[in-house]
Each structure stands twice: as structure tokens, then as C-alpha cells.
Symmetry: C2
Subunit: 323 residues, 2 copies
């Protein structure tokens, strides 16, 4: 059976060829209006009506009107756009499988998270800026402010596949890793603490790693009270979504020094306005939502899709299913 | 028997107390002229003549004139000051044991090395500077220039205790780790390649980690030919000693782009003169000899010494013996 596959993001020629080779005998359909990024939302497209598979960020209206759709493979880690009870019900009713591309970004995201933790531990921003000579007060202070990760405690909030990979990377550091997610699945590899133990965990953690997705439940999860409940001198990281943090509260916690430093790959909005105080807060370090980025990521995206496509064609269960 | 222990570096009061408690019943002797850092060389001190143990960086003249000296515990990782055939012969003749403090700095040095590798992999210097918005050309380029460590090859030149610890930290990245040192001891934990295989190793390595100590054999080990023999786009790191690198050759390799980037914790001299071109070379990143630095390091130094002191008093063999 010839399947129609709708691909709604722009691919470099070599990756397009890879996708064509991997779907020989089937039909690739591209939107009339090309997309700018894997995160951009597609517009309604009349061709969508007859497709079997969608790979990208199809818009909900197109999905609703699609007559043959059986599988949506979202081209991002986050499924925020689709993450509602209504949409889940629609998928169930229509018998449409939804999978995501988290696996494509997990490795890079975990690397990015560890790069933040080590840059903080080794005081890289200051070290790379100073020209302090050995034995000077500034030099002694720099050395003395480097805190080994070994033996410290990290609390990972929103523990999923990225947290799992980060835990693997942290294994040689013998850290105390505390995992928290709302709905433990049992495949986390380490025990997930119940919500009742969170206050204790916040009190203990030297590092608070926020990997929460953006959902109604998680919006402004990190408010003033939560920062206040953290151990004095804790370091806060966000590689989840910017909307999960009350940025004014974070700014206050950084200004008071209660939070020693913040490392953010995501903010709200992105980028922050040019005059936003977090840009110039000396203990705040911001990268522009690149944690999942890696060399030729559209190739790994396409490879990941094709692995699942072969399973779909072979009648096997889809990997990384989220609905 | 009451031992006289000469301690020739300045200790904060709480660490001094720790040292006093750990040597109760023995005598601590401090130099008439206090030292500025653990790396500074002590001057000749008449008190030295009768000491049994020296902890610090005693000068060679003092050692030569000492009559009762049985053990020198060097307060640094490097023993460059003492690393000559003549000195080794003197120690042997006088039956003086020499140990070093490498164990105190290994963990921090390995952390620093990995922080460099991950900062490079995740392009932190650029990422922390840019305010690029999602979907822009600059943003796409930044994401695309992040190369995962996973599966890459690292060549560690001067593979000792730091290299061993770094190899442990790299284990979850499934990298191909190639170890080289002149005189393999068999306790490296991974195979050490013979010199004949070095050219191949330089051709393969995505990352060249220099951890060479400074000795007559290693001076300017990294010359133009060696940089030319590296894989195009390799990244060079130096957490060993600055004198092991021909800095003009490194600069040329960085300017041509043959070496994608250099991350240096050590230079020659330290710090580099203010007008040195490496300071402003965009793909060169320098920290000021802080790789081994960590919170309260004089405490870990003292603890490490005391562990050995107890062995010395108990007649057990000294840990971390180098002569």
C-alpha cells in the first residue's frame, strides 16, 4: 500500500534524499508554503486531507480535517501544541498514533545540562575572562570558588528521557541524584520521589535542574516561594521551557544571592527583550534555546523518523509514542 | 619519637588547626619568611637542617643541607622543581622518600578538562554571548556547530592519574579514548599505545588532551609538525604545563583553522603578556591555571598529607610516592 507522508519542515538536499530513499514506493508531500524551522507551526494545507502520516508540526485544524491520518510524528521533543485533553481524546477516537522526536534531542540536551553544571563548578565564565596571576587574591578566590560536583546533590524536576541520560552522564561523579516527575512511569532507572518529599529535596539540592515541559500544570512552577525553599547557594538550571519559571522571582533570588547562579537555555519570551534585567544579571548565564541542537540535526531527525516509518510499514508498534 | 615537620606554605587558621591536631606529639616548624602560594619556591631556612619531614615546596639547597630528612611531601601535582636525574640520585643515596599531592588535584583537573570539552561541544562561549532568535541563520549555525562527544575520539597525551579520572568521566559518552605516556606503568586502566602508534592517533583524534608535565623531555613537545599531523578540525586542550607547547605554532594552527579551537589552562609564561595574540585569538580560550583549584584546597592538601603522615608514623609505605 502506497502511503502518503506529509513533511512540513525544510530539509537540506542531502537529508531530503535520505528521506526519499527511506520511503521509496511511498509518496512524500510537502506544504505549499515552506516552513522556517522544526518548531514553527504549519498552516492549514488542503493536501493534508488525504495523507496517512504527518512528520513535522502539523496544525490542529489540518489534523481535524484529515480523513486518512493514522500517525503523527512530531519533529520536536516538546508536544506542547498538542498537549490537551481534547486533542488526546480526538487521537483516541480517530485511532491516530502520536510520537515525538525527544530521542533526537535527549543526548544533546543532557550534554548541554552537564556543560552548564561543569561550567558552574569550574567557574568558567569568570576563569575565561580574568587574567589574574597565580598567587593573587583574585586567583585564590577563583580557585576557592570551584566546587567539585562529586558528592553533591542534584534535584531533577521533570525527570524524563533527558533526565535519565543526564543521570548516566553524572554517574562517575557519585552525585546524589533526586528525580521528580508528576507521573512516574517506572522506566526512569532510578526511584522517583513522591510530591510529599519535594520540600526536603529542595532543601538538600545543591543543583536544581528544571526540565519541565510547558503545560497548563507547569506554567510558573518555579515561583518565589519555591526559590525561597531552595538551599541557600543552590544553582538553578532551566533546559525545559521558559514559561515554567516566574522570571521576576528568579531575578530576585539571583539578586539576593539566595540562588548562587542560574543557567538558562530557555526563557519567556525567547529571546528576552534587549533591556531585560536577566541579560545583565552577573550570576545569570543564558544560551538561546540551543540545548537540543547538534550537527546535522535534521539528518538525525529524518533517521529517527525512518526507523519508526519502517516499524509502521511492518506493522510493529511505534517507538517514542506519546499518545 | 617526636618528628619535626617543616611546613612551608601559608595555611588558613582552621586548616592549620587540622594539621596541628593530626600531628599531636610532633613538632610543626614554619619558615621564617612565609610563602605566598603552594607553588612558590621556599628560600633556604636554617631550621630546615634538623627536620624529619618537609611538606610544601622546599628548596633544593635546604634539602641538600638537611641532616635528618626522611620524607618530602610536595604540595603540588607537578614535581618539576625536583625532577632531575641528579636530584633522584641524591634522594636514593640519602634514602629520602618523595611523594606528591597529585591526588589532591586530579579530581578538579579532570572536571576542568571535561568542562572544556563540553563547553566546546556545546559552543558555550558563543551561546552565552549571542542573543540570536530561533530560526535565524546565526541560531541555526550555532545549533549546527554543536558536535556531540559521543562516539568521538580523544587522545590523552601524558596519561597519568588525571587522564585516568578523565577516562572515568568520559565513560558514559562511549568515546574512543587513546592513552599515551612515555613510560606505561600498567596501572592506567586502559591500554597505553606505544610511540609508534602516535601518528595514527594524532590523525584520528577529534580531541587532543595535553596533560604533559614540564620536563626536559616534554619542553615544546607540541611543535608545528605535531599540530600539522592532527586531524583537520581537531580541538587542542592543555591542562598540563605551558612549556610543553610551542605557542607560535599553536597560534598559526588556530589562525589557519586547522585546529578548530584551543582550550588552555596553562601557558608560558603565566599569565601571558597583555599584548599576546593568543588572548585575542577568537578560537582560543584561556583559564589562568586553575584546573586543580577547588573549594578549601589547602584543607584537602592537609588531609592528604595527614593520611600519609599516619602511614609514615606507622611504618607503612607512603602513598603517591614519586621517588
Amino acid at each position: 500500500m502506497k502511503l502518503k507522508v506529509f513533511v512540513d519542515f525544510t530539509l537540506p538536499r542531502n537529508v531530503l534524499e535520505l528521506l526519499q530513499q527511506g520511503t521509496v514506493g511511498h509518496e512524500l508531500i510537502f506544504p505549499q508554503k515552506p516552513m522556517t524551522s522544526v518548531l514553527a507551526k504549519a498552516e492549514w494545507d488542503p493536501q493534508f486531507k488525504s495523507v496517512d502520516i504527518a512528520f513535522g508540526q502539523p496544525d490542529i485544524e489540518s489534523i481535524t480535517r484529515a480523513e486518512n491520518l493514522r500517525w503523527i510524528h512530531v519533529s520536536s521533543s516538546s508536544i506542547t501544541r498538542y498537549d490537551s485533553a481534547e486533542f488526546r481524546a480526538l487521537m483516541k477516537e480517530r485511532n491516530i498514533v502520536v510520537s515525538n522526536s525527544a530521542a533526537v534531542y535527549n543526548e544533546a540536551c543532557a550534554d548541554h545540562a552537564l556543560s552548564f553544571m561543569l561550567a558552574q563548578a569550574r567557574q568558567l565564565p569568570l576563569g575565561l575572562k580574568t587574567r589574574a596571576a597565580s598567587g593573587t587574591e583574585a586567583w585564590n578566590q577563583l580557585r576557592d570558588s570551584s566546587l567539585p560536583l562529586r558528592g553533591q546533590t542534584v534535584l531533577i524536576v521533570g525527570f524524563g528521557a533527558i533526565g535519565k541520560r543526564l543521570t548516566e552522564l553524572l554517574q562517575p561523579f557519585d552525585m546524589n541524584v533526586i528525580a521528580f516527575r508528576r507521573r512516574a512511569r517506572g522506566d526512569e532507572g532510578i526511584p522517583v520521589i513522591p510530591e510529599a518529599e519535594l520540600p526536603d529535596a529542595f532543601e538538600q539540592a545543591d543543583h536544581v535542574m528544571n526540565i519541565l515541559p510547558d503545560s497548563l500544570e507547569t506554567q510558573k512552577y518555579f515561583v518565589a516561594e519555591r526559590f525561597a525553599a531552595m538551599k541557600p547557594g543552590a544553582v538553578f538550571y532551566n533546559i525545559g521551557r521558559g514559561a515554567t519559571v516566574d522570571q521576576d522571582a528568579l531575578l530576585n533570588a539571583l539578586r539576593s544571592g539566595h540562588i548562587k547562579a542560574a543557567w538558562l537555555d530557555v526563557t519567556d519570551p525567547e529571546p528576552l527583550p534587549d533591556d531585560h534585567p536577566l541579560w545583565i544579571q552577573p550570576n545569570c548565564f543564558i544560551t538561546p534555546h540551543v540545548a537540543g541542537g547538534h550537527f546535522e540535526e535534521s539528518r538525525t531527525l529524518a533517521q529517527h523518523f525512518l526507523k519508526n516509518f519502517r516499524r509502521f510499514v511492518g506493522g510493529e508498534p511505534i517507538f517514542d509514542r506519546v499518545m
